[in-house]
């Protein structure tokens, strides 16, 4: 597999490296920065893999870094390599907070240790941060102290190589709780005339587990394909779920759905697509019996994700009109409407409207929220802290354009981007029916909590007509 991993700065100069095999010459990485440069000169396309002299440079970008894997054979699984690199960055982020040139330089010792442990001879090994943290710790004195006690100092946890490789034994909490966050991100592309071109819901069930021992969890949701019979004669789940975390008494079963498809009106079961599970979920059990059962890792993790491509109407609809009078001014008129149930409220709504990069002297008229001009993004940002369902707000902006414009100015055509959050609301209508927690030996009482939230995905955009 991988022959070496390099962390390079934004020019492609190596900062730190770990070589796993010696089938690439030491000098191979020096070529990387030239290769990057050559590719930039040729075109604007820089694919994440460059081949040169029989060596393949596979890389991802993160902040101001390139993380590069060198490989020598066409038979290398590139999907694994990229997945691993992203995982590596994620693990480092948990250790170092931010992964950038400076933090790489400052923390070389721990990074070497991690690289040693996470990959051996180019084959990915352990990437579970919770387990790594058991025996690779940042503060060295802890290790020394543990050693004084002559106890098992920094040994790999025995469960590391077990079938439950993500959870160490002997976890203890005074109060046993599990928090479920159902986060749905909406990706939507809306055409100039308000037509939805593409829409999808990307949902994630995030779990924060604070449970002792080796608990076995079963999760029930209102998906058609998922076995929910547990519900009958077992109301532990639903009753305890009713107490929402924030105490607003939001009733789970009244969770609204805005799916326009009539066949899937709320109450009835929904059908999730592309379910993806964390490795702790017993996949074969799900495949055969449709039960989501798992032993959770400790702390935060994403239990499952799903995707829905039903057509949904825009939750925040923006009607943007841009009128450009060349060489004098540009006028922007924007009408935003929260197309959600009246009792729901969209919070932290941000509407980013692109303007010509050479425009200046903005003047605004608006009824709600606040507007500012963000010259570095060539856009104006309209922020509305709280946007109740059914309301319609509007704004008007005018910016002056220079009288002489540079014709060769490379323009970028950007759409309007919208950000928002709608608490206590899921677009798909997914509901957690129950979360059954069972720890065979400790038999404690535990409390599951559930929260729902809908927010924008990374691509909630509206195209605009420039006239």
């Amino acid at each position: 597999m991988a022959s070496a991993i390099y962390f390079c700065d934004n020019k492609g100069k190596p900062l730190l490296s770990r070589r796993y095999k010696d089938d690439v010459p030491l000098s191979a990485i020096d070529k990387f920065s030239t290769l990057l440069l050559e590719n930039v000169e040729q075109s604007s396309i820089i694919p994440p893999c460059i081949s040169h002299s029989g060596i393949d440079y596979l890389f991802i970008q993160h902040n101001d870094l390139y993380v590069v894997v060198l490989a020598t054979s066409l038979s290398i699984n590139v999907a694994t390599i990229f997945t691993f690199l992203h995982k590596l960055v994620a693990v480092l982020e948990e250790y170092l907070k931010t992964v950038e040139e400076e933090s790489i330089r400052d923390n070389f010792v721990i990074i070497y240790e991690l690289l040693d442990e996470m990959m051996d001879y180019g084959i990915p090994q352990v990437t579970e941060t919770k387990m790594l943290k058991k025996y690779i710790t940042q503060k060295s004195f802890k290790l020394v102290k543990a050693h004084k006690k002559k106890l098992n100092a920094a040994r790999p946890p025995s469960s590391l190589t077990n079938s439950v490789s993500w959870r160490p034994e002997g976890i203890k909490y005074k109060k046993n709780e599990a928090f479920l966050d159902i986060v749905e991100s909406i990706n939507m592309l809306i055409s100039q005339n308000g037509q939805v071109i593409r829409s999808e819901i990307l949902g994630t069930v995030k779990v924060k587990s604070r449970l002792s021992g080796m608990p076995d969890l079963k999760l029930g949701i209102n998906d058609r394909g998922i076995f929910t019979k547990y519900l009958e004669g077992n109301d532990i789940g639903t009753t305890s779920l009713n107490g929402d975390k924030k105490g607003k008494g939001h009733d789970l079963n009244k969770n609204e759905s805005s799916i326009t498809n009539d066949g899937r009106k709320s109450k009835s079961n929904i059908e999730l697509e592309d379910l993806k599970f964390h490795q702790c979920v017993r996949l074969s059990k799900f495949e055969n019996e449709k039960i989501i059962s798992f032993i959770p890792p400790d702390g935060d993790f994403d239990l499952m994700s799903y995707r829905l491509t039903t057509s949904i109407k825009p939750l925040i609809l923006c009607d943007v009109k841009v009128q450009t009078y060349s060489n004098s001014r540009v006028e922007i008129f924007c009408k935003a409407k929260a197309q959600i149930k009246k009792k729901s409220v969209a919070t932290n709504v941000e509407i980013l409207i692109p303007v010509p990069s050479d425009a200046d002297t903005p003047s605004f008229k608006y009824s709600h929220g606040s507007i500012k001009w963000v010259p570095e993004k060539s856009a104006i940002l309209w922020k509305i802290r709280s946007f109740p369902g059914g309301k319609e707000y509007s704004m008007r902006a005018e910016l002056l354009l220079p009288s002489i414009s540079d014709i060769n100015d490379t323009k970028v055509k950007k759409p309007v981007q919208v950000k928002f959050q709608i608490p206590y609301f899921t677009t798909s209508g997914i509901q957690i029916r129950y979360l059954k927690i069972n720890e065979p030996t400790l038999q404690y009482k535990s409390y599951p909590w559930v929260r729902y939230i809908t927010q924008n995905g990374d691509d909630y955009t509206i195209r605009i007509n420039n006239s």
Partner: protein, 729 residues
């Protein structure tokens, strides 16, 4: 108040510290003194600073003996650092490592499994015969260790040892131990063992029978698959993909057992699962994997889910989807919208998405086609050069794939009236439009209004030789002029300017000019043709194929007037273009069936990204390269020389591959031309066609290799596009 508490602690710690500190300067003197200091804290500091210097790229190998003194410590972190140092310099100064051999052996018996692992891991990486002589006992011991963590490390060490010293590895008999590790109870040991065997097999396929081992362990693999880490699953799935199931029952069983993994969160596990399923699915009754079958829907859904991963993985997924689509064209037909471009996608993802979109679109569904057309139109209004260019090309591809004249006319209309109109910003837009329009015209050349519309636009360009920048687009422009001379008011003047620039043009345009002049020779003054023939056969830098072609046409035209066949021949030459063209129905690039099968077996690999199937030759080449590198390193002390050798070796290998491909094309076209001389006049006509084909084949593939040097050019993809272009003349 923990923060204050911590501060006080730190302050106290610093104030009572007697051990001298090491500065950041990294001077050898200071470091060396620190490394042998009586204070443990100072020594540790010094090691850290040494490694810091090492990370910065400074050669701190002179400190080797001093660093090594610190290896016997109870502080695990310090031990790790020393090991790290040793491992790093083992590669450059292998001789020095002999000093550490004792510690390695002792550490491999340490009660702490972490240390045992570190010792064996490091030891198996040091390329010195003398150290390897000592590896026997530690390696065997760790292979049988009680702790699975140690065993999973040891099995990989066998592969490392094999790479360093094949002979020793075979002599020690650890390969048998490795094979036995496949029967371990621990899933991680099993998966590392199979990964290790795969590595060994890739170095030398003769020592261990990978296929047989996989065959005998299939049921075991399927059993542990559900119990291991994501990476172990990945390895096991890779091994399963190598296995050929015996019958449809077994294939069904394997598919059923792995299908659950389509829902794994790790994209590479998903892709590996798809590969295993596709490998076994052909064993089943075709009804069981019809486009509507459950399993195909699951695969489709899994592939779609890969579109919500980081861009690099999307890129891999898109490339692989293209391969899968060619085998199973209906698999994703309901998911077109997923591949619509997002404005913040990186360019390499955007371009790949367009590739998939035009392949995926269901041409019988006119609504879908219209939607896609609108989307492509939107893309063509963007500002990034490659993206716009690809979108325009995609429009033509879409039109030709659809084949409906009304639809094509609509596309031509959009290109003529909306895309060309916007002008500004993008220089090459006319090139792309010209190529797209002429491609579209080829599809319905009998549609008078379209011919008129397109030609009148192109006719209005005052100096096409300057407006158009690419060889391909000029070639297309000249073809259009020649084909519809009546629609171009100034065809003669335009052609003349092209002739004036003849020597500056690239070969494809030169051929086009030549053929155009021949066809229109009745409209031109007699000397034009003659002059062009002279020019094309005399000037120095002329492409050999262009010259040969000019030469032969010249001979045709210089046949004695008394020969009755002459007029007929020339007539045929000139009228060829007026006959209906062979209809084109697709200008998308396709793989040859053989390549496709190979690529399907290599999903997820680098091969699948470059569309360059892994052949036995390539494998042997890399094996040879590897073994040479290693053997040399072990025996020689002068490593730098060796690196040079290795580097040259790499370079050579790479060039060979490229050259092979070029030669083939060259020779075929040369052969064609030499044969031609002997043939009778009547056959000449047909053969000219062949030459043109070859010339173009060569040119287009060359062009591709130039524009995208990463993508090993389409030696293996049948470019239907290219094929079709040939019919132009």
């Amino acid at each position: 108040m923990p923060p204050l508490d911590k501060k006080i602690k730190k302050f106290l710690k610093n104030s009572i510290r007697v051990a001298p500190k090491i500065s950041d300067k990294g001077e050898f003197g200071e470091l060396r003194a620190g490394l042998v200091s009586p204070y443990p804290q100072t020594r540790k500091d010094a090691i850290k600073k040494t490694i810091q210097q090492m990370t910065l790229g400074k050669d701190v190998s002179p400190l080797f003996p001093d660093v090594l003194k610190n290896i016997a410590t109870i502080d695990i972190e310090q031990k790790k650092l020393v090991y790290l140092y040793v491992m790093n310099y083992a590669e450059i100064y292998p001789e020095l490592c002999i000093l550490a051999v004792n510690t390695f052996v002792t550490d491999s018996q340490d009660p702490n499994p972490l240390i045992r692992c570190m010792a064996i891991r490091t030891m198996s990486m040091i390329k010195v015969d003398k150290i390897l002589e000592y590896i026997d006992t530690p390696l065997r011991r760790t292979l049988q260790d009680d702790n699975p963590y140690v065993r999973k490390t040891a099995v990989i060490c066998v592969a490392k040892l094999f790479q360093l010293n094949k002979q020793l590895c075979v002599e020690l008999g650890v390969l048998e131990d490795l094979a036995n590790a496949l029967d371990d109870d621990n899933p991680m040991v099993i998966s590392n063992a199979i990964a290790s065997i795969i590595e060994i097999n890739s170095i030398d396929p003769t020592v261990i029978d990978l296929i047989r081992l996989i065959e005998t362990h299939v049921s075991k693999f399927l059993l542990v698959l559900n119990e291991c880490t994501e990476w172990a699953r990945m390895t096991i799935l890779t091994a399963l993909a190598e296995y050929n199931s015996r019958d449809s029952l077994e294939a069904k069983d394997i598919i059923d057992r792995v299908t659950a993994h389509l829902q794994h969160v790790n994209p590479s596990v998903v892709l590996a699962t798809v590969k295993v399923i596709l490998k076994n699915i052909t064993q089943l009754d075709p009804n069981q994997y019809s486009p509507d079958s459950k399993i195909m829907k699951k695969i489709s859904s899994a592939l779609v889910s890969l579109m919500s991963t980081p861009p690099e993985l999307q890129y891999v997924a898109l490339k692989n989807i293209r391969i899968i689509l060619e085998k199973y064209p209906e698999i994703l037909n309901k998911e077109l919208r997923i591949f619509y471009v997002k404005f913040n996608d990186p360019m390499y993802v955007k371009l790949e998405k367009i590739e998939i979109l035009v392949r995926l679109v269901d041409v019988s569904n006119i609504k879908q086609c219209t939607l896609l057309l609108n989307e492509l139109k939107e893309y063509s209004m963007e500002f990034e050069l490659e993206f716009v260019s690809r979108s325009i090309q995609a429009m033509a591809e879409l039109g030709i794939k659809n084949g409906n004249e009304i639809f094509i006319a609509k596309i031509a209309d959009i290109i003529c009236n909306e895309i060309l109109e916007r002008g500004g910003g993008i220089e090459t837009i006319r090139d792309d439009c010209c190529v797209a329009l002429s491609n579209l015209l080829r599809c319905c050349d009998m549609n008078e209004s379209m011919v008129k519309q397109i030609c009148s636009i192109l006719n209005s360009w005052s100096s096409p030789e300057d407006i158009l920048t690419s060889d391909l687009s000029k070639c297309h422009y000249i073809w259009l002029m020649t084909k519809y001379p009546n629609h171009f008011t100034t065809v003669i003047e335009k052609l003349k300017t092209f002739i004036d620039n003849f020597t500056q043009e690239e070969s494809m345009t030169q051929v086009a000019i030549l053929l155009s002049v021949i066809k229109l020779h009745t409209r031109l003054e007699g000397s034009v043709l003659q002059n062009l023939f002279e020019l094309a056969t005399s000037y120095e830098a002329v492409d050999i194929d262009v010259r040969d072609m000019a030469m032969m046409y010249w001979r045709c035209f210089s046949i004695d007037d008394s020969n009755v066949e002459k007029d007929q021949l020339i007539n045929e030459l000139c009228n060829n273009g007026l006959n209906p063209l062979p209809r084109i129905d697709n200008i998308l690039e396709m793989f040859s069936p053989d390549t496709l099968e190979k690529l399907l077996n290599q999903l997820g690999t680098i091969s699948s990204i470059y569309f360059e199937p892994l052949t036995e030759d390539i494998l042997n080449e890399s094996r040879k390269r590897r073994s040479q590198m290693n053997q040399n390193i072990i025996k020689s002390q002068k490593l730098n020389d060796l690196q040079d050798i290795a580097r040259n070796e790499l370079l050579d290998g790479h060039e060979d591959v490229l050259l092979d491909f070029g030669d083939e094309d060259d020779s075929s076209s040369n052969m064609a031309s030499s044969n031609n001389n002997n043939n009778t006049l009547k056959e000449l006509d047909d053969l000219f066609g062949n030459i043109t084909q070859d010339v173009k084949n060569l040119n287009i593939s060359q062009q591709q290799s130039n524009t995208d040097s990463n993508q090993a050019p389409s030696a293996n993809t049948t470019t239907s596009n290219t094929q079709d272009l040939l019919d132009l003349f």
